[in-house]
Amino acid sequence: MNGATVADLGLVLPELILTGMALVLILVARRIQSTSVPVVATVLAAAAAVAASWWVLSKEPQSAFGGLITVDGYAQFFKVLVAAALALVALLSVKGLEGSGAPRSEYHVLLLLASVGMMLTVSAVDMVTFYLGLELITLCSYILVGITVDRPSSNEAAIKYFLLASFASALMLFGISITYGLTGTTSFSGVAASIAERGLADDPLQLAALALIAAGLAFKIGAVPFHSWVPDAYQGASTPVAAFLASGSKAAGLAALGRVVVIAFGPDSPALSIILVGLAALSVAVGSVLVLAQTDMKRLLAYSSIAHVGYAVMGLTAGTDAGASATMTYAFFYVFMTLGAFGVVIGLGARGATLDGYQGLASQRPGVAGVMLLFLLALTGIPLTSGFVAKFVVISSAVGAGYVVLAVLAVVCSVVSAFVYMRIAVLMYMREPESPTPARFPVTLSVAIAIAAIVTLVGGVLPRLITDWAVAP
């Protein structure tokens, strides 16, 4: 191997920790009776992974395994985010999988392995590693979506997701191979250099390859027009799995998109700008409008995640470093907002699955309603919440790059989606309850929701903690 040394293994310590824990859990799968062991193990592994990635970053940014992956601030930002999402989803799963008959150990193993895939994706600087990471996420996600085997909706969602995702992966692989064919290399920087040297920037075949890769990635993050799997998969899967898909895999996909855009194909490519602007505009518009008609909470959150991905991609359309770091900030705050909202949905159980279940919640459980209101305000983008900061930075970078119409579309769509978020607030606060008071949330769930709420509030008031950390690749 060119240039790979044993020390490189140390650079992938976070991934190794998660994989190690996954292997341990597989081995003891049939031997442990208590359901809390896998959860604790997962949370511990996530925490260790965060610590490991901080330690790894204390060394200089460098590429490992002969240029297959890189260890820099960008990768570390997302690794911490992925680990945090993993830990929070593990906490959410305690209540979320209650009564579903899903095998706990295997479930957590899959979460861990999917997170390994995410971490690999965000640090990949080579097409092959990037594809490998994405496939690892996808494979684990297929099983996670269908893991509650006794529910027909899960099975249906899993099959749908599997078929569509395989197709998308095939498209992406096709694009990667065309790029390899044209440029002779698979590393991102090599591709960029080769495109510049051989003048391939306007080559139709290269543009087709770019479009295919973008299509595959757009599918992964659930951007329009490749979004059709999102509502069905989220609705059919059990809620913690939906939360995981909505947070972790979107963050990884956005990170990968950022690297592909900034490093591989260069921010100056006009074709890439068109593709990104199109993705952003369509996702924001379609997501915001379709969310109005939803009555199922998971579907509602699915469409809202489509819209949010649109906003996040807007940061990349600018093609500047500030834009890429805006996308990073957006991904960070979005993960916590969404996990918090999903957490409340999980906590309310059957009542929380439909919109009507939130009626009168404020008079029965004011704390729950209050924290849900916080997440709804963040999703809308009201100041003093992290959601506003996130929207502000992406819209700012879009306006700075001259895409004023896109920015106006984005802000108008945020008002459109405000309507539905406020409708939930109205139901919670201004109507009389029709269902009995829901039970208290278990401690694990409350801790997870509390962490998400703290990040959302602090991010709104002192955003510089995150914006200063989000440095483009």
């Binding site: 191997m1 044993v6 490189d8 293994l9 292997l23 597989i26 081995l27 799968a29 049939r30």
Partner: protein, 117 residues
């Protein structure tokens, strides 16, 4: 000439010849179906079950496990060939690889995938 022209020509040619033969046979041959000719072939015996019957899942399990471990073997071959050049790192990584698959094997064993019932 493009490098791929030869392949394209071969594809077209093969398709035309094979397809043409089948097509010709279906046009030129006599059609005289009898119940005996139309029955599904079962090595001379009478068909005992509808082809839409269910298969035992154990066949699928065995096949999948075989594929997994066979591919593992496949990966061992190039490693074995380049063993010297890959050095200590290669050895370590190959052991990790085998270890991971061993864990998978233990899981399959524990969960009864190796039972033949």
């Amino acid at each position: 000439m493009n490098e791929h022209t030869g392949i394209a020509v071969a594809l077209v040619l093969a398709g035309v010849i094979a397809g043409g033969m089948v097509w010709l046979a279906s046009i030129l041959g006599k059609k005289n179906p009898t119940p005996g000719k139309l029955a599904p072939f079962e090595c001379g015996n009478e068909p005992i079950a509808l082809p839409t019957g269910r298969l035992a899942i154990k066949f699928y399990m065995t096949a999948i496990l075989f594929i997994l471990f066979d591919v593992e073997l496949v990966f061992l071959y190039p490693w074995a060939v380049l063993y010297r050049d890959l050095g200590v790192l290669g050895l370590t990584e190959m052991f990790i690889f085998l270890g991971v698959l061993l864990v998978g094997f233990v899981y399959a064993w524990d969960n009864g995938a190796l039972e033949w019932k």
